[in-house]
């Protein structure tokens, strides 16, 4: 007899009701999609990347569709951490889900100040964004060498009274090396992958479609890369992993869990189907039930790799 599967997961001491979360930058601060379904359906909401001061973001066009995906170069447009705390967080806190605050900066001091400030609020976890490809200073520059990634993690960690997730860039030679370095430097969990740097060119005008020339590629096109990277990182670290990159169906989520993720973020899939995270969660639960799997955690890292 199979009872209802156990869906909750633990990310660095924080319990998520289920492993399906949203990916930063695709979900605003939750209000837009919260008008379509209760956010309590989600294990967690990861908010739009925050910076210390308000940021206008990049010039448009900022988005372009690609085969099985899209490019974006939004450039961290956000109202700044204080406005988030005053205007968004009180509402979000009443929605019955875990809150992950994604933070980005152009200096190590920015990251430390935000980690300290947000530690005194009701956010549940901090996600260190050292992988945004769309800002000129900071962002991905902190995330592409072991030395820089470990350095910023070690610098920010003492300011964190909440568990610290470090979000990794796929635009590197060996993501597992960087994962090991940030875990050694104090990361409580990892999230991966951020977007892959890409480009599209209008063949008539001979100009890039994005005003920023290049942007981050997301969507199903990147999923096999994300699965591979989660698997490589899982083989080297034991901390929880939030896997993301092109997850659009429950089958994709199962794949990400098998590769080694403990939770799965949904992002770009929202744009075709705003209910995608809810459907993925339901599909995952049905899959567990059908297969007599009592606990979703049993899937994490359960891939039987060939020797």
């Amino acid at each position: 007899m199979v009872t209802t599967p156990q869906m909750s997961v633990n990310i660095a001491g924080v319990t998520l009701a289920n492993p399906i979360v949203t990916a930063s930058g695709t979900f605003g601060f939750g209000r837009e999609y919260g008008a379509l379904f209760p956010l309590s359906e989600l294990g967690a909401v990861t908010v739009k990347g925050l910076t210390l001061q308000e940021r206008m973001g990049n010039a448009p066009p900022r988005v372009a569709e690609t085969p099985s995906g899209m490019l974006n170069s939004v450039g961290l447009q956000n109202p700044g951490v204080e406005k988030f705390i005053r205007q968004e967080l009180p509402w979000l806190k009443t929605q019955g889900t875990v809150i992950i605050a994604n933070i980005a900066g152009s200096t190590i001091e920015d990251y430390c100040a935000m980690a300290e400030r947000l530690s005194d609020t009701e956010v549940d976890l901090l996600e260190l964004n050292i992988s945004c490809p769309n800002v000129k200073q900071g962002g991905v520059a902190f995330g592409t060498t072991c030395e820089n990634a470990a350095g910023i993690t070690a610098a920010v960690k003492p300011y964190c009274k909440k568990p610290l997730i470090v979000k990794l860039s796929p635009n590197v030679t060996d993501i597992a090396e960087i994962a090991v370095a940030v875990v050694d430097a104090g990361a409580d969990a990892l999230s991966l992958i951020n977007t892959l740097l890409g480009m599209r060119i209008d063949i008539n005008t001979r100009r890039p479609i994005l005003a920023n020339n290049v942007g981050g590629l997301s969507g199903p096109a990147v999923r096999p890369i994300a699965v591979r990277m989660v698997w490589q990182v899982r083989n080297r670290v034991t901390v929880p992993i939030i896997g993301m990159g092109g997850v659009a169906t429950w089958e994709d989520a199962v794949e990400m869990l098998l590769a080694g993720a403990n939770a799965v973020a949904v992002g770009t899939a929202l744009y075709a189907d705003p209910y995608a995270p809810v459907k993925i969660k339901q599909g995952l639960r049905d899959y567990l039930e059908r297969n007599g799997i009592a606990d979703v955690n049993a899937l994490s890292g359960a891939v039987q790799a060939n020797s």
């Binding site: 930058g25 695709t26 979900f27 605003g28 837009e32 999609y33 008008a35 379509l36 739009k48 206008m56 973001g57 990049n58 010039a59 448009p60 066009p61 900022r62 988005v63 372009a64 569709e65 690609t66 099985s68 995906g69 899209m70 974006n72 939004v74 447009q77 479609i209 969507g219 199903p220 770009t268 929202l270 744009y271 075709a272 189907d273 705003p274 209910y275």
Partner: protein, 255 residues
């Protein structure tokens, strides 16, 4: 008002001219609350992003969208048949603030930007002058629908093959010289909007423009469809066409 995601059947599909598709959808949830100038996010099977299409008309339970086949997504959409369901998110965005419909007003449309003006001009009837510009006579569409609303319809073509030979903004200047106009509403290509806004503002006439931008989520979450505008305090910011627009007050737009 609330946004809904709904599957609604295509009742009627016609092609008013080569490359142009005119769909009538049975969509009570959206049709009954759609305001002129709002738009829909329509899912195209196999594509990452929905296609934003302006609402051409909403009457009773029926929605009408008219679009030009521009790429693979709209080509897919052009392939739907009568009876097929479409997955639609809407109504999205901030439409035209029409105000008092007993005032004399002017609508300016260019190319495929003329379609949302049909829904917007109808309440004004004979109080509206509708100025539509097209590249050439063969590109003209929906003029019978506009005439049926009782508006004063005037046409311009770039090559003079029908109506005034020249820009639709020539017609605007002439109309504004003729008599009073309380407001100008415009939708069309960027240069036309810019010239329309300049002409209206030069005469101190309030002007609303419907802007376009490459869009992803269509509901204010991804911040993709940015457009630079002036805030009330005079500072610049990026607003988003999907929720702050698509219709903006022309005086706030940084051209």
């Amino acid at each position: 008002m609330s946004i809904t995601v709904t599957r609604c059947p295509v009742l009627k599909k016609v092609s008013p001219r080569e490359g142009l598709i005119d769909l009538t959808l049975h969509c009570p949830d959206i049709a009954r609350q759609a305001a002129p100038g709002q738009f829909l996010m329509i899912r195209c099977e196999g594509f990452t992003l929905r296609r934003p299409l302006s609402i051409c008309d909403a009457q009773g339970d029926l929605l009408r969208v008219v679009f030009e086949v521009r790429g693979a997504g709209t080509a897919w959409l052009a392939g739907v048949e009568e009876g097929d369901p479409l997955d639609i998110l809407g109504p999205q965005g901030k439409g035209f603030d029409l105000g008092d419909v007993f005032r004399p007003v002017v609508f300016v449309g260019g190319g495929i930007g003329v379609f949302p003006l049909l829904h917007a001009c109808r309440p004004f009837g004979a109080n509206a002058t509708v100025l539509l510009g097209f590249r050439t006579a063969s590109m003209i569409a929906l003029t019978d629908d506009f005439r049926a609303t009782g508006v004063d319809l005037r046409l311009a073509t770039d090559d003079g093959s029908e109506g005034h030979g020249g820009l639709v903004t020539d017609l605007l200047a002439a109309r504004l010289d003729e008599g009073p106009c309380a407001a100008v509403f415009a939708c069309g290509p960027h240069p036309m909007l810019k010239a329309t806004a300049a002409e209206a503002m030069r005469r101190g006439i309030p002007c609303q423009v419907s802007l376009e931008q490459r869009m992803a989520c269509g509901m204010g979450a991804c911040l993709g469809c940015a457009y630079k505008i002036l805030r009330a305090d005079g500072s610049e910011t990026y607003a988003h066409v999907c929720v702050d627009g698509p219709v903006f007050d022309a005086k706030d737009v940084i051209w």
